[in-house]
Subunit: 173 residues, 2 copies
DNA sequence: CTTGACCTGTCTACCACTTCATAGTTCAGA
DNA sequence: TCTGAACTATGAAGTGGTAGACAGGTCAAG
């Protein structure tokens, strides 16, 4: 038996999220205590855990409800459709990255101010990034868009050999 | 000289979008005709085109305003920050894809119903996908997440040789 | 002068929440 | 028994970047 906040924290969600799920009918209204507090049981926990699994796969709440509440609904096709949508979303984001790199290069040409590794590092540090954050940054970039990562490192005027080594440890990350 | 809708369509946006940009101060309120219609000029067009470039790079309107209205603001660092954010967003989406693949594999094991290429194609067609759409689908998948693409093709029980050929034309496509 | 295509401002809806305001409840310590 | 911290309840409003509905105004062609 749990209260809202206890159950929420147990599943890594916030209290308001659970209340929201209830309001849209994704979680059934639980029983109440004498003081009108929500009291959740095992059943609720199991359902919420399933919800979290599908949320972790990036499904919309509407789709999750379809899978949970209509046992005849084809979960596979919903998952496959989402898989495809994720592709186009990723492609869109990579297109954004390419646009940014293009803008950065143009800026580089127009202004005589050449962006260097040192300047970039100082900008990142000023934004509150630590060395470890930047390692993760490179690892993510290398993993999600290797070609664009290469392009960016070139943009920073880093010598080819150093680029290779940065990308090396980015992959091993 | 253009009206709202004309200018919007010219830039591939909707009328509401332009009105919204004006309401948040990203576009200046234009002059009006006798009938109180908005009348946009060259200046507005140029500004809107710059906005579209930055929007195409996935920048938030707030950041775009910073770049356009504060000439001393460092566009480079805004672009670089966004580049990093895009990485983490892409990583999140790829994590979603991996979760979906895991769920699909589990489903495959639990239910005896094996998902095959034929079933998948029929599901996609039922969702209104044409052959050409599916080619694009594979190309996007191969480009954005090659390992996950391989995994998905294996999930469909497609023989290794055919998988290789599908990935081959996906890359060229 | 009528038709009908386009325009106007204002409003609501979307998604998945979060935050806020206000008020009631529970519980541990003094 | 009282106090106060930490919970809880409900409802409303805000977020971003649009899309679309609505009722009415404007304009050019015929």
């Amino acid at each position: 038996m749990w209260t809202v906040s206890k159950l929420a924290r147990r599943c890594g969600l916030s209290r308001s999220t659970l209340l929201y799920y209830e309001s849209v009918g994704l979680l059934p209204p639980p029983s109440r205590t004498d003081g009108n507090y929500r009291r959740y049981g095992e059943e609720d926990l199991r359902r919420l855990e399933r919800i979290c699994v599908y949320r972790g796969a990036g499904l919309r709440l509407e789709d999750i409800r379809g899978i949970l509440d209509r046992p005849d609904s084809d979960a596979s096709s919903i998952l496959q459709r989402r898989l495809g949508e994720l592709n186009t979303e990723i492609e869109t984001l990579r297109a954004h990255q390419r646009s940014i790199l293009k803008l950065l290069r143009n800026k580089d040409l127009r202004s005589n101010e050449v962006v260097t590794k040192e300047k970039w590092v100082s900008i990142m540090k000023a934004s509150g990034f630590t060395e470890a954050d930047m390692k993760r940054w490179h690892a993510a970039f290398e993993s999600s868009a290797p070609a664009e990562h290469q392009e960016f490192l070139e943009f920073l005027h880093i010598p080819a050999q150093e680029i290779a080594s940065i990308r090396e440890w980015s992959r091993k990350g």
